[in-house]
Amino acid sequence: DAGVTQSPTHLIKTRGQQVTLRCSPKSGHDTVSWYQQALGQGPQFIFQYYEEEERQRGNFPDRFSGHQYPNYSSELNVNALLLGDSALYLCASSRAGTRTEAFFGQGTRLTVV
């Protein structure tokens, strides 16, 4: 079992550009959540996808959007990048309707210059 895999591991983008981050959940998991972890901070919830729909959203602007595919994999898109978007983006997968813990990927380090 490969666990949660994220790609790419590192990314450098210029202000104003757009970026897409990808996540494959752990086998058997159907729910994907995205978190932003700024330097020195705890992860902050962006949104969660289940059954290919956004089910819950944190306090992030509409520049942040996502998608979930039928195979449960997910993408996080960020438009009009700002310097403040520089962070570690973490994907977590879980199984809906259970008390099981969320499993996290290794993250994508995004640097906006």
Partner: protein, 115 residues
């Protein structure tokens, strides 16, 4: 709204000594509580959780945590620290009655274990 407080930015302990990393929470209803560990430039690794039942839960690598409902705390403990335990530790909470599995995290506590 739910929240987690980790009052210590850093905890220093000598190898072989017991360690405690503190966590308090606020949530509507019964909590599900979690501890995760993060090594440099890595994702979060699950350590242990409290869902229901015994207030003392045991997890990976010899860690344990005690749930105290009256004090709304979930402190992480280990009887004998190892240098390899040095890492960033996060406490997280979600509400039992939430239909979603989203977590609210504390800001993290850096644990430094000296030889």
């Amino acid at each position: 709204a739910q929240s987690v407080a980790q009052p210590e930015d850093q905890v220093n302990v000598a190898e072989g000594n017991p360690l405690t990393v503190k966590c308090t929470y606020s949530v509507s209803g019964n909590p599900y509580l979690f501890w995760y560990v993060q090594y440099p430039n890595r994702g979060l690794q699950f350590l242990l959780k409290y869902i229901t039942g015994d207030n003392l839960v045991k997890g990976s690598y010899g860690f344990e945590a005690e749930f105290n409902k009256s004090q709304t705390s979930f402190h992480l403990k280990k009887p004998s620290a190892l240098v390899s335990d040095s890492a960033l530790y996060f406490c997280a909470v979600r509400a039992e009655n939430s239909g979603y599995s989203t977590l609210t995290f504390g800001k993290g506590t850096m644990l430094l274990v000296s030889p």
